[in-house]
């Protein structure tokens, strides 16, 4: 079954661009994003049917940048989302967390043999932040040399992935429409 066939006809649609974050209101939605070396972390509060998702481009917030662009960085995006859930009364340890992306898109680069790729650094940052904040990681699908089209259902916590080729990723064939609702820049 295709991902599209899983999406209800009356659901809200959100296209999440890099650096953006989305926190749902509990209504049925399909949040789509496309990942190469970027990382998305999804959050789901099962008792309330509320979910959130990040799309971080760079591993760590630098000194002096705190709070400026939370969603740009993997670590600050996760922290922002945990705070957003906490404000609604959800304990971080009760959230179901999933991690995706972190592809090594330029594996032929000679420097990649000695230097960690951006994708791997993004995943390292995500895993360390998830551990530091006491979150419960259910699933990790990271790495590889391919892109991922991700569709997140924030009302159920489901995440559906389609592997995409490098050419379609860079030609923009998988990019969708502008988001309807976004939060947390």
């Amino acid at each position: 079954m295709s991902i599209e066939a899983r999406i209800g006809a009356n659901w809200g649609r959100v296209y999440l661009k890099p650096t953006e974050m989305h926190l749902s209101d509990g209504s049925p939605q399909a949040v789509t994003t496309v990942l190469g070396s970027c990382v998305s972390v999804t959050f789901f509060a099962p008792e309330a049917g509320v979910g959130g998702i990040t799309h971080g481009m760079l591993p760590r917030e630098a000194a002096g940048q705190a709070g400026v662009e939370s969603g740009r960085f993997v670590d600050s995006g996760i922290a922002w989302m945990v705070r957003a859930f906490a404000r609604q009364g959800f304990d971080p340890g009760s959230l179901e967390v999933k991690l995706f992306g972190g592809a090594q898109m330029h594996e032929t680069d000679a420097s990649s043999r000695t230097t960690k790729s951006v994708g791997r650094q993004n995943v390292e940052s995500a895993l360390e932040t998830i551990e530091e904040l006491g979150l419960r990681l259910l699933v990790s699908e990271v790495g590889g040399s391919w892109g991922r089209k991700l569709v997140f259902f924030p009302h159920s916590g489901d995440v559906w992935i389609k592997k995409i080729t490098r050419s379609s990723l860079y030609n923009g064939e998988t990019h969708g429409q502008a988001a309807h609702t976004r939060h947390g820049r």
Binding site: M1, E128, L138, V139, V142, D158, W160
Partner: protein, 145 residues
């Protein structure tokens, strides 16, 4: 639609039974109790011309651990590429959830996914789909909501 061939590598009989209960109707399921048994099953499947499409692999097992097995599977796949052997999708299933465990499994050993125990049926079914392995439609529809 034919059922995909899936191998479960797990030393716990209760976990093997859980997978059998969840997947027996949806897949051609085989099981192994450690990494070495898994390698024998995989080799035999290649020889038969019926390779596994997906493998769920525990890490801590006697005889040969899961990460060593994944590395060896990837090495053998590369070695036998000219004979038509193609990489199968491998997902780790483990209680270990430290960043270093997950990074080692996915960036160093070559696993495609990592699911932490305990897990739900829906998580496993989604993971199979996300790894690009199709389960028969009607059966998956029944439990997808």
């Amino acid at each position: 639609m034919s059922k995909p061939r899936i191998l479960i590598v797990e030393d716990s009989s209760s976990v093997r039974q859980w997978f059998t209960a969840v997947l027996a109707e949806r897949a051609e399921l085989s099981t192994a109790r450690n990494g070495l048994e898994a390698l024998n099953r995989i080799w035999a499947a290649w020889e038969k011309g019926e390779p596994f499409e997906a493998i769920f692999m525990d890490i801590i097992m006697p005889v040969m651990d899961g990460l060593s097995a994944v590395k060896e599977i990837r090495r053998l796949e590369r070695e036998r590429r000219s004979e038509g052997v193609r990489p199968c999708r491998i997902c780790i299933i483990s209680r270990l959830a430290k960043p270093e465990d997950i990074l080692k499994a996915q960036y160093h050993c070559g696993a495609d996914g990592y699911v932490t125990k305990p897990f739900a049926e829906s998580t496993i079914l989604q993971t199979i789909s996300n790894l690009g392995v199709e389960l028969p439609h009607q059966l998956r529809m029944r439990c997808s909501s």
